[in-house]
Symmetry: C2
Subunit: 348 residues, 2 copies
C-alpha cells in the first residue's frame, strides 16, 4: 500500500510502523490515581534522584527511553532519531534527557500535544524508510510547571474549579518495522483554532474547538464515523473540555458517545483526589498513551483507537499581553491490524 495524503490534514501510512516498545513513569499523584497499575514506574520523589525538579523531569524521560530501548532489545545506536519535547522554557526537560544517548534528536514543541506531534513525525520517518527505529517522547512535571507558569509552590495558591493539575509523568515509545502491532496507520496534522478565549485557567474550553476540528478532519478525510473506532481519546481537555468537544462533534454530525474520553480524565480520580477539572501537561497524554492505551491495544481490549492530544498556544508573556489562547490538536490512529498489503483498508 502506498502512503497517501487523504486530504489536507490526514495521511494514511503505506507501511504502518509498529510500536516496538513503550514505557512510562509517574509521580506520587499518579500513583494514587485509577491508572496506577498502567505505569511502569511510580516514584514518590519529585526530584527523581536528581538535585532539582527540572533535572528530575529530564530523569523521567531518560528512564522511559532506557526502558523502551531494553524492551525493544535495541541499543541507542539502533535508533536513528528521537523526537521529543516538554513544557519547560527552551524544552530543557527533553534536551538534557537525550544528552547522554548520542541519538539524533529533533526537538518538537507542541505543549500538551507534543506526544501527538512527536509520534506523527516519528511514524513518518519509519514509514518512509528514513529511520530504522524512531522514538517519540514527552514529559511534564507539576513542580517545574507551577514554578514556571504559575506561583511558587509554597504559596499554596487556590485554583479555580476549571483548573487542571499538571501531570508529573513521561512517556516514550519506539517505532520500527515489525509484523506485530500496535501500528500507527494514520497521522492528522492540526490547524490553529482561535475562538478568542483568554482565561488561562480554563484551557479545556480553549482547546475543545481545536480537538473538534482535527477529529472532524479525520472522520471526513477517511470517510469514517466515531463508531469505527473503539476509543477516541483527546489529550488533556479535562471534564469541561470533554463536554464541550462532545457537543461540538455532535453539532457536526459525529456523535462520539461513551467511546470518547480524555487522558486528563482517565489519569486521576477527580473527586477522590480533588483534581478539579482533571490532569494536563505534555506528560499526561504521553504517560497515558505509553501505558494504558498502548497496553490496552496490545492486550486486545481495543482494536483501533484515535489518540488526539491538544495544545494551547500561550505563554505567561502572551497572557500578560492580553492575547487570546488559540489551540491545536494533532492526532494519530493506532490499530492492531496494519492494513498494509490490502489495496484499501476495508472498514475505513
Amino acid at each position: 500500500m502506498k502512503t497517501t495524503r487523504l486530504g489536507r490534514q490526514t495521511v494514511r501510512l503505506g507501511r504502518p510502523p509498529a510500536v516496538l516498545s513503550w514505557a512510562n513513569i509517574g509521580g506520587r499523584m499518579e500513583s494514587q490515581g485509577p491508572l496506577a497499575a498502567d505505569f511502569d514506574e511510580l516514584d514518590d520523589d519529585p526530584f527523581f534522584g536528581r538535585k532539582t525538579w527540572e533535572q528530575g523531569e529530564s530523569a523521567m524521560q531518560e528512564r522511559c527511553l532506557r526502558r523502551a530501548l531494553d524492551r525493544a532489545h535495541a541499543a541507542p545506536e539502533d535508533v536513528d532519531a528521537v523526537l521529543s519535547g516538554d513544557l519547560l522554557n527552551q524544552c530543557i526537560g527533553s534536551s538534557f534527557a537525550l544528552r547522554s544517548f548520542g541519538i539524533p534528536f529533533w526537538g518538537v514543541y507542541s505543549a500538551c500535544a507534543t506526544m501527538g506531534e512527536a509520534l506523527s513525525l516519528a511514524a513518518i520517518l519509519v514509514d518512509g524508510g528514513l529511520a530504522r527505529i524512531a522514538g517519540a517522547a514527552a514529559s511534564s512535571h507539576f513542580c517545574t510547571a507551577e514554578r514556571q507558569y504559575r506561583q511558587p509552590i509554597p504559596y499554596g495558591s487556590q485554583r479555580t474549579p476549571t483548573a487542571q493539575w499538571t501531570v508529573t509523568g513521561a512517556g516514550c515509545c519506539l517505532l520500527g518495522t515489525a509484523d506485530r502491532g500496535p501500528f500507527v496507520t494514520h497521522v492528522v496534522r492540526g490547524r490553529i483554532v482561535d475562538l478568542g478565549i483568554t482565561d488561562a485557567a480554563n484551557m479545556g474550553a480553549a482547546m475543545a474547538p481545536a480537538a473538534c476540528d482535527t477529529l472532524c478532519a479525520l472522520f471526513r478525510e477517511t470517510d469514517t464515523v466515531p463508531a469505527d473506532y473503539d476509543l477516541i481519546v483527546t489529550g488533556d481537555l479535562g471534564q469541561l473540555g470533554r463536554e464541550v468537544t462532545a457537543e461540538l462533534l455532535e453539532r457536526e454530525g459525529f456523535v462520539p458517545g461513551d467511546r470518547y474520553t480524555d487522558c486528563g480524565l482517565l489519569i486521576y480520580d477527580r473527586e477522590g483526589q480533588d483534581m478539579h477539572a482533571g490532569g494536563s501537561g505534555a506528560g499526561c497524554s504521553a504517560s497515558v498513551l505509553c501505558g494504558h492505551l498502548l497496553g490496552g491495544l496490545a492486550r486486545g481490549r481495543w482494536q483501533r483507537i484515535v489518540f488526539a492530544p491538544t495544545r494551547a498556544l500561550l505563554s505567561p508573556t502572551s497572557t500578560f499581553q492580553g492575547e487570546s489562547i488559540p489551540a491545536v490538536c494533532h492526532a494519530v490512529v493506532l490499530e492492531n491490524a496494519s492494513g498494509a498489503g490490502e489495496e484499501t483498508v476495508c472498514s475505513i
Copy 2:
C-alpha cells in the same frame, strides 16, 4: 530515484522538493549590515507595527509567510503544513504568527537551528507526497531575546567579546514540486554533543563540536569532501565558533578552507557595527538562508551548498542550575540540480 537512508544521520531525498519561494525580513541593525540588499524588507520599528516586541516578532514571521505565499502564487489553502519555531518561551513568536492562516501547524524547537530542523521536516513531507506544499519558518528578535534571556534593555549591560548579537529577523520558505530549483537534496539530523562548556556568553565554542559532528556525518555518509560543495554555512557560531569548527574539521581530515563561513559572520560588519563575535538567534540563519543563500543559488552564484545551523541546549534555568551547554547541528544540502531521475548522484 528512491529516498534512501544513507547512514544513521543522512537521508538522500528521492524526489527532492523545490524551494518554490522564500522571503525574509530584518530590523535596524540588519539594515546596516553587509547583507542589507538581500532582505525583502527592513523595518526600523522594533515593534513592526504592533504593541509589544513579542507581537512584533510574530508580525515578522507573518509578513514573511505572506510574501512567500504571494511569490509562489499560492493561497494558504494550498499549503498542507508549516513547521516553525523561535526562541521565545512556549514559541509564541511562531504560534501567534500562524494563527490567522488556517494552515496545519507543527511546532519545532531547535533554538538557533530551528530553520535547519523545520526545513528538513518540510522537505521530508513533500518528498514523501505527504504534503503538496510545506513551509518552514523561524524568527528571533533582539529585544524579546534580551528581555527573556539576559537583562532589561535599558540597563545597557556590557557584553563580553565572545558574546553574539541576537538578530532581529525572520525567514520563511515554501517547498513543493517543481522542475526548477533550488532543491533540498539531503537532510542530516544532528546528535547532541556535550563537551562540558558552561559559559553562556561563549556559545560559538559550545556549538562548534556539534557543527563538526554533523558535517563529518554528511561527508562520510555521502562520501563527499568539503570541496564538493561551493559553500558550507553554519548557523551562528560567530567568529570564535567558526575558527574552532574549521580546526575540528581539519583534524578529521576535512579541510573546509574559504568555502566555509557562518551566517552570524555574514549578517553584520563585526567591526564597523561593533558586533563582537557576530550575529545569533533562530532568525539569523533563517533570514540569511531566505535571502542571501537561496538568492545566490537561484542566481547561479553557487550550485550546491550545505546549510548547517547549530543550536545550544540551555535555558536561563539550566544555566542557573550549573548545567553544561550541549549542542546540536541540523543540516540540509541545497542544490540547483535535483539529481532526481539519475540512478546515482554522479558527483557526490
